[in-house]
């Protein structure tokens, strides 16, 4: 059951990116994938299928809400929206990720060890 995706990312990364994207503006699944791909300059190849289990997890934990809406291409879709809890969660995750990244960068930086 835990085999949610062939994730090259670390656990939680996808969720973090979804939350970040939704903070900018509420959107539906397809738009989410497109946005992540675009803003990562195609560096991150997400298997689109793994998006939906991640969205369900966020829904279950109350970090996002879903409602019926209409997309920019005039389709009836489910629009996901960040909740207050989701915003707080995202803040925590981002700062802890920043610290982790900084640490890794220090270790990997040439000549500094």
């Amino acid at each position: 059951m835990k085999k949610t995706a062939k994730r090259d990312l670390f656990p939680g990364a996808l969720e973090m990116m979804i939350l970040q994207t939704l903070r900018r503006e509420p959107s539906h699944g397809y738009a989410l994938v497109q946005h992540i791909r675009r803003t990562s300059h195609d560096l991150l190849q997400i298997e689109e299928g793994s998006l939906y289990p991640a969205l369900q997890r966020l829904l279950k934990e109350g970090l996002v809400k879903a409602e019926r809406g209409v997309s920019s291409t005039n389709r009836s879709v489910r629009i996901y929206r960040l909740t207050t809890a989701g915003a707080k969660h995202l803040e925590r995750e981002v700062s802890s990720f920043a610290r982790m990244l900084e640490g890794i960068t220090h270790v990997l930086a040439p000549g500094e060890s």
Partner: protein
């Protein structure tokens, strides 16, 4: 949203999820088409980018926890469908499991009811039997009950103890009830004050005995069992206060015990108070069973210490008469060895039951191996199906779980059938009523047994499902899809699993059949033992008691007994008749004491070994078929003249005077105060305590002892033995009764049995073990043979193509046949060797059940090994011959 409403809304959520994903794909496709791709290409690209749609959907649903439950139900439905679709496989599997679980649940219900459940008294853990041993009293070790309590011991223990709530002594016996209908001999328990209080079961009617009922020559009272109350008084509630004639004495009924109350393990009709006359008690008289209830929190160690403390008090408080040293018993080294009452009731049956339980458990393992085999074969033919499921996105865990659910379902349905099998089996067992199995009436299938059957079903389902599941749920999907439908010769790897199963089945079958074989050999050995009597089926027995309230004078007792013997001998078809205080193996409490020989010297402190005493009539040995080794039998003239003559057993004669003939004319006595008795005859040894037990040394006294100056003592309760070809027939028994009643119409008959029945009862434990192990052995043999045959023949039939190639390439039929046989033999040999090693390791556990045969008996082992190897060879030969007789061309075209 709470989880409950979520659960109800889940269908909608699922629908929405599927729709969302579908729209996602559509949107992407539309975009690609807009970018200039063809519709078809766009659909494929979108799908590829998305990945496995089904899996993504499933994983998304999996976030909410109900998925596992839903999958489980889906697996159950699928499993049931698969079972229904293969009726032959399902039937065979269910049958095997039903037999296996049925046998196990049945035996477990016996173990549970007999061994595990507490006794049916309030707070049974506080109840104990006052067992004591006396290693210093030589000869006593031959007597099964250790050192029983004397009445004086009872008074000391009851009055001086610090660890018991209540304590009493009891003795089983019989009583004659007259004045109701026909004179009747009934089962009675004589109890002292404290016994009923210890057991703690209140009467259904009236009251218990009180101390005032235990006064010698006081008011005579009696209590009834529920069964006797129903049988003789029709359950009349006004029975309390009525009088009945018990042993010709009028006794007032004071109470009725409730239904289902058993005295330890005995059914009884009457409870009679013991009324000891304190003033006349001496130290000796060790004939009473002690029973007690601990004060709360007292341990056996503390109670033993308490009894040890009281023994010197006992020796100081009483004596054996003027001029005797009460502290002589210090040389006996009397040691309390209190046992839980349950242990006393169960006796030595627990080891038998555990051996049977273990054996039946092994049968279950064989059954499991068989079902595993079936499943292995079937899962192999389902490879294609499994590969398709894997290709459609089923994870390995999901497939394994599906297969396990299927096999557990098989186990559960089989288990349910098995409970039915167990129910029938237990009913049969209780109906056939093996003697010596205590608490038989309590055996039933209860919740614990059902729980046992359930866990056994689940566990075995997992066990036999796991091997095929792990083996075939692997990721070799493409391979399986390609080769599906066309099996090449079977790979070595697939062989290995099955060979391992055959080997372990063989090994377990060896263990079971060796145990069954050893029991059969034990029974044979028992049959060849000379018990000390002959022609048991033609030896009619009946027990007659003449209480002193009916006939007071010992001489008249003897004359009545003599007259009965004469009347019996006059019945047509009777060869001879006689009587003795008890027949061998009857299990009545024996009379025993030390004897002193005239030509030996004894130091003051020395008590010679205790000997079994029996009291006999003239003609008894001739009737019983006990050989006279030297000298002659007693005569009636000697009995009436109270001549000081005595007979002894061969082992006693050899021990004291080296040869039987040397014993003739020697003299012995019981007390310094009694005259010397001259040995007039030596008879062969008799297995008094059962065929398996060593023959004890016995002194045979006349049934009427004393001298011409006093009336002496006549043995009043005796077993008459009548030698006749008509023994056991109803007409004969009627004539026996008439003969007895023509002498005295107030004398009832009891224990009307043939010697064969007494003998069978004494070997009942061995026969019970034998029957159970034989059943287990037969089941192991049948299941094992089917299993071995099935696996080998399946393997051989799988190799038809290979045989065809070999034959086409010029191999001779004989060569191929030989090859198959060699492979079969090799597997069988490995299995048998492992089985023999295991059986040798376990055989010590059985030693105590065996008699006259070593637990490593080479003959049994060899026979079992030969039999199983023959079965394995036959199982290889028949299918192999069929396979090689087929035209190679046909075999190659096959499939």
């Amino acid at each position: 949203m709470n989880w409950l409403s979520q659960l109800f809304l889940r269908r909608r959520m699922y629908r929405e999820l599927s729709e969302e994903i579908r729209e996602h794909l559509e949107e992407m496709t539309d975009e690609l088409v807009a970018g200039g791709m063809s519709k078809e290409e766009a659909t494929h690209t979108a799908r590829r980018a998305f990945g496995n749609v089904g899996l993504a959907e499933e994983n998304a649903r999996g976030v909410w926890r109900w998925v596992s439950i839903e999958n489980f139900f889906a697996d159950v439905r699928y499993g049931l469908r698969m079972l229904r679709r293969n009726p032959a496989f399902t039937a065979l599997g269910l049958l095997t499991i039903a037999i296996g679980i049925g046998a196990n649940a049945g035996v477990f219900s016996v173990v549970n009811s007999v061994l595990l459940k507490p006794l049916n008294y309030p707070n049974p853990q506080e109840l104990v039997a006052l067992h004591q041993i006396a290693p210093g009293a030589a000869g006593l070790a031959d007597f099964r009950n250790g050192l029983l309590l004397s009445p004086s011991m009872y008074f000391t223990y009851a009055e001086q103890n610090r660890t018991f709530q209540s304590l009493g002594v009891w003795i089983p016996g019989t009583a004659n009830v007259t004045g109701l209908a026909e004179p009747e001999q009934v089962r009675a328990v004589d109890v002292s004050d404290g016994v009923l209080q210890a057991l703690g079961v209140p009467p259904a009617l009236g009251r218990w005995f009180s101390q005032s009922d235990q006064i010698p020559n006081g008011a005579e009272r009696v209590m009834l069992s529920y069964g006797y109350w129903q049988r003789r008084f029709g359950g009349d509630p006004a029975v309390v206060g009525r009088n009945v004639l018990v042993d010709s004495r009028s006794r007032e009924i004071v109470g009725v015990m409730p239904q289902g109350f058993r005295f330890l393990d005995a059914d009884f009709d009457l409870i009679v108070p013991l009324a000891f006359d304190r003033g006349k008690l001496i130290l000796a008289g060790f004939g009473y069973h002690g029973i007690a209830r601990f004060k709360p929190g007292v341990s056996i160690v503390e109670a033993n210490a308490d009894m040890t403390r009281m023994l010197p008090i006992w020796m100081d408080s009483w004596s054996n008469g003027p001029g005797t040293n009460p502290h002589i018993y210090e040389t006996w080294k009397i040691t309390p060895a209190i046992r839980p009452l349950k242990q006393e009731v169960l006796g030595n049956v627990s080891e038998v039951l555990w051996v049977v339980m273990a054996t039946i458990g092994l049968v279950m393992m064989i059954a499991c191996a068989n079902v595993t085999n079936l499943l292995l074969v079937r899962v192999e033919s389902r490879q294609q199906e499994l590969a398709v499921r894997a290709a459609l996105g089923a994870g390995r865990a999901r497939i394994v779980r599906g297969l396990l659910v299927e096999s557990v379902l098989l186990g559960l349905i089989g288990g349910a059938l098995g409970v039915g099998v167990a129910y029938v089996g237990v009913r049969l067992l209780v109906a056939s009523g093996p003697a010596n199995l205590p608490r038989l009436s309590e055996i039933s299938i209860d919740a614990r047994t059902l729980g046992f059957a359930l866990s056994l079903a689940v566990l075995s389902g997992l066990l036999f499902g796991l091997i095929p599941a792990l083996k075939y749920a692997g990721p070799r999907t493409t391979l399986a899809l390609q080769s599906a439908g066309r099996s090449i010769s079977v790979s070595r790897e697939r062989h290995r699993a099955r060979n391992l199963l055959v080997i372990s089945q063989m090994a377990i079958a060896v263990v079971l059949m060796v145990s069954a074989g050893l029991m059969i050999r034990t029974f044979q050995a028992l049959r060849t033992v000379d018990p000390g009597f002959t022609g048991a089926p033609r030896l009619q027995l009946m027990r007659i008691s003449i209480p002193d309230s009916l006939v007071a004078e010992p001489e008249r007792v003897t004359r009545i007994q003599n007259a009965i013997v004469d009347k019996l001998q006059a019945i047509p078809g009777v060869k001879s008749a006689g009587f003795a205080s008890e027949m061998p193996m009857e299990g009545f409490d024996s009379d025993w004491d030390a004897i002193y020989a005239q030509d030996k010297t004894y130091s003051d402190a020395e008590i010679p070994p205790l000997r079994l005493f029996k009291h006999i009539s003239p003609g008894f040995f001739e009737t019983a078929g006990t050989r006279i080794i030297a000298g002659r039998e007693l005569t009636w003239t000697e009995v009436y003249g109270r001549r000081p003559v005595v007979m002894v057993s061969e082992n006693l004669a050899r021990e004291m005077w080296a040869t039987p003939s040397a014993a003739i004319g020697k003299r012995l006595r019981e007390f310094p105060s009694t005259p010397w008795y001259e040995v007039i005859g030596v008879v062969q040894d008799v297995r008094e305590n059962g065929v398996q037990e060593k023959a004890p040394e016995i002194v045979y006294w006349s049934s009427w002892l004393g001298n011409s100056h006093d009336p002496g003592y006549a043995w009043r309760t005796v077993t008459f033995a009548i030698r006749s070809d008509r023994a056991g027939t109803q007409a004969f028994l009627d004539e026996l009764r008439q003969a007895v009643w023509s002498v005295n119409s107030n004398v009832p008959l009891a224990s009307v049995l043939t010697m064969q029945e007494v003998y069978d009862k004494s070997v009942a434990r061995t026969s019970f073990t034998l029957v159970m192990l034989a059943i287990a052995g037969a089941m192991a043999m049948a299941l094992g043979t089917i299993g071995i045959y099935g696996v080998i023949s399946y393997t051989v039939s799988q190799r038809r193509r290979e045989f065809g190639i070999r034959l086409a390439l010029g191999a001779q039929r004989g060569d191929v046949l030989q090859m198959v046989l060699k492979q079969g033999a090799r597997t069988a040999l490995v299995g048998v060797a492992m089985g023999i090693a295991t059986a040798l390791g376990l055989s010590e556990l059985m030693q105590s059940l065996l008699f006259g045969v070593s637990a490593q008996d080479p003959m049994t082992f060899a026979a079992v090994a030969a039999l199983l190897i023959a079965v394995a060879l036959l199982a290889s030969y028949i299918p192999a011959r069929r396979a090689v007789l087929v035209d190679p061309v046909v075999a190659l075209r096959y499939e």
